[in-house]
């Protein structure tokens, strides 16, 4: 009996990917055919890797042909594993690339989430260099950017990327599919140091809890103590109405995002540049997020050529109270970070308030005052955040207090 399955992509224009064709047979061992752009440099190691994958997955007799366009090892093994699983749907083996040290860093509940860069989960060529552009977070997307027929391939590729790709300190996020497929996604993702799971088209606290519970089960099974954070994305009229319920559904929620493409369609409006049609939704999200003490995060800006539009949109998001924005191209990051940066005047004022606050603490005063003005605690809180932001963004020296010591 023979059975043939394919995975990956081929063609002149494909880069950093490969096409695997696998024919299972009853006898004859493994026959491996490789055509690779990097045959001279890595042909030997590709063959070794493939044999290792097949052995790990228990495939003993097969004809494998690989057309390689410079795919990295984590991609080749993912494609081969996908082909095996397509031939043998009951095979529950996994070929896990080494968990590299660079993949083990942790995140924290409270951190910058100004920018999150979406990467299509089945497109390896964007993954390897995404981190060098320094987004606050990268999102390996299993949902809208992956064709339905490739969901299985993307899960395996994203899993491998989580173990093997250096994202250089960016928060490691995965957007899962809508339930129930999203629950299956979790099996592939949760054990591999994912920091945040993005829940698309979220409409109820129950969905959040379902995901949260499944994550907890997997973490317990694998003896992992570190929690996995959640970021529900509100993309519908119903979701907007239930925003607070959703934002407060789990202690693992760190942020609440809005997705306007689906939302505007859902309310029967045209999405415009001015965004009047989504003003209510965005304000509602900010309000719900703040009420639940999580970060409000704005939608994606999808016109990669319109940098000025992006800047305006981000400034507006900031003025509404959002702390972050989604993007789809690394060149958008700088504009977003700059737009979220406090202005010189804001920093100056924040510094004076922070100094006054620290002086009051030192002297045991109950009230913070600046000149003749009393400063309320929320103002102090905002000033502290501004200073923290300014330092993080390189606008203010860490030792900025020194210049005030006279």
């Amino acid at each position: 009996m023979t059975k043939t399955c394919d995975a990956g992509r081929c063609g002149e224009k494909i880069r950093s990917d490969c096409f695997v064709s696998l024919e299972l047979r009853d006898s004859g061992g493994i026959e491996l055919g490789l055509k690779s752009k990097v045959e001279v440099m890595y042909g030997g190691s590709i063959r070794e890797l493939c044999l290792d994958v097949l052995e790990t997955l228990g495939v003993k007799n097969a004809v494998v042909t690989i057309e390689d366009q410079g795919a990295l090892p984590f991609v080749i093994s993912a494609r081969l594993e996908t082909a095996v699983k397509r031939c043998l749907p009951d095979n529950d083996g996994e070929y896990l690339p080494e968990m590299l040290d660079c993949s083990t860093y942790k995140s924290q509940r409270r951190r910058f989430r100004r920018s999150r860069l979406y990467l299509p989960g089945n497109e390896p060529k964007f993954m390897i260099n995404a981190g060098i552009h320094k987004p606050d977070g990268i999102i390996l997307d299993l949902e809208d950017s992956v064709a339905p027929a490739e969901k299985d391939a993307a899960r395996i590729l994203v899993r491998n990327a989580l173990r093997w790709v250096d994202f250089y300190g960016a928060e490691r996020m995965v957007r899962i599919n809508q339930l129930p497929a999203g629950l299956e996604d979790l099996n592939y993702i949760v054990p591999h140091n994912v920091h945040v799971i993005l829940i698309p088209k979220c409409e109820s606290s129950q969905q959040v809890r379902q995901i949260d519970e499944r994550i907890k089960e997997i973490l317990d099974e694998k003896n992992i103590e570190e929690p996995v954070f959640l970021m529900p994305i509100i993309e519908s009229a119903l979701g907007v109405i239930k925003a607070y319920e959703i934002a407060s559904a789990s202690e693992n929620i760190v942020a609440l995002a809005v997705g306007l493409e689906d939302y505007t369609a859902d309310i029967g409006a045209e999405r415009t540049k001015e965004g009047k049609e989504s003003f209510f939704a965005r304000s509602q999200i900010v309000n719900a997020a703040r009420a639940a003490n999580v970060q409000p995060i704005d939608t994606v800006f999808s016109d990669v050529k319109d940098m000025e539009g992006l800047r305006q949109s981000t400034l507006e998001a900031r003025s509404l109270g959002f702390e972050g924005k989604g993007c789809i191209h690394p060149r958008q990051l700088k504009v977003i970070h700059e737009a979220f940066a406090p202005t010189e005047g804001e920093i100056e004022r924040a510094k004076r308030i922070v100094l006054a606050f620290e002086r009051a603490e030192r002297e045991g005063l109950g009230v913070v005052s600046l000149g003749s003005k009393m400063i309320d605690p929320p103002v102090v809180k905002r000033a502290l955040r501004t200073v923290e932001l300014a330092i993080e963004m390189g606008l203010l020296e860490k030792n900025w207090r020194d210049e005030y010591v006279r």
Partner: protein, 521 residues
Amino acid sequence: MSDEGYKLETNAAGRIVPTTINGKPAVPFQGVGKYRPAGRKAAPPVATCADYPGDGNKVLTNLKTALIKAGIEDGMTISTHHHFRNGDLVANRVFDACAEIGVKDLMWFPSASFPCHEPIIRHLDSGVVHHIEGSMNGPLGEYCSRGKMRGMGVLRSHGGRYRAVQDGEVHIDIAVIAAPTADPFGNANGLTGPSACGLLGFALADSQFADRVIVVTDNLIDFPCVPWQIHGNYVDFVVKMDRIGDPTKIVSGTTEITRSPDRLLIAELTARFIKEAGIMKGGFSFQAGAGGISLAFVTFLEKYMKETGTKARFVRGGSTKYLVKLLEEGLTEYILDGQTFDLDGIRSMRENPKHVNTSPFTSYNYHGKGNFASMVDAVVLGATEVDVNFNANVVTHSDGLLLHGIGGWQNCLFSKCTILSIPSFRDRIPVIVDEVTTLCGPGELVDVVVTERGIAINPRREDLIDAVSGSDLPIRPIEEIKAEVEKICGGKPAKPKLGDEVVAAIKWVDGTVIDCVRRVP
């Protein structure tokens, strides 16, 4: 493969190189600035006006007649230039005509060859052409790499080619100069006509030193054709052809900046380096080519120049609309242009006296009384490989195949700050390696390597290291970037297994042999 015997010797760079090339002795590389030339320059035979029509009309009906009148014989050296890049229609016609005439064993001496010249392979196979000395981009490079060419290929830089002709290392019997506009006397320029390419600097040596010079044009105008970038006084015959080039491949209407975020990052880091290192200051100069990273680099630098009110004295190109914009906005006083890549460049050269045409003689010739390349404050270049000692390769890929020419690259290394702006790996192929496959430029001349994963400064350049020490540029040791890239690519790349035969020699700017290319099985 080479049908002449040769001996091998280790040169000053530790590379094993042939001491004879196509039957002529060759000097192994001795170190930068070490080789001392002697003797006098070459010269063409003395001509007399008595042999040329008094009315100045040197027009012949076709190329074949011109070649016959020029006295073409077996074994001669025929030269062409590459200002039409991949849109050249003339070189193929020249060798078709030679085949018709029935001559053989010619040496083709182009300033560069491109994929459009693939038909020459037929003439190499049939014996019309014996071998090629000149940059071989694409199919001809591969043909040479596989050991199919009878003679040894010789690769020289643009300046090295001028020098070789001037020094008498290469004697051109017949030069065929494709000219976008010419008059019947042979005056010619590249500024107008359907095949306009801007300038004709690469054909200068050919016009000055060849025994016989044929100008071929598809835009014959009445005398005088001014400005005369090529002087008719050097020219024997003028031939009118229907078409000499494919304009869409000669220049692009729009040279576009890369959209790759990684390449844009490299370009931005390069511009920031030049700013932070203090190189970008009033009256400075730089050179950048027409590659994706270079173009983007120019736009980043332009932004910084505007922000700080800094103006350059001159920029060198490869001109494109991006350099032209600098000139027209007053951000540079001059463009010194070696070749023109787009329509804006050609327009500017035609209309703006401060957009100056240059040649390998003025810019690059190492056996001259100085050249412009060493006066440039910073140059941004590419490479196929660079090693941990900053040695760089531009001609072969890591699998050993010869696929590119040297261009002006070697000559530009003499800039005050030479920057290689390159991705740290391409697909899965590391660009930063332990040892380059082919040495084209010695590490002592490469100052900075800018990659998307950080900037490595040559330890020899302590001044540059100091200059950027206070900045937040990602300065890293080159070994560290290399290690990171090897980790990404899944280990050190294996070396190609190459044949013993030398298929091409790489000349240094002074004519010594810096390395050679071995046959790829």
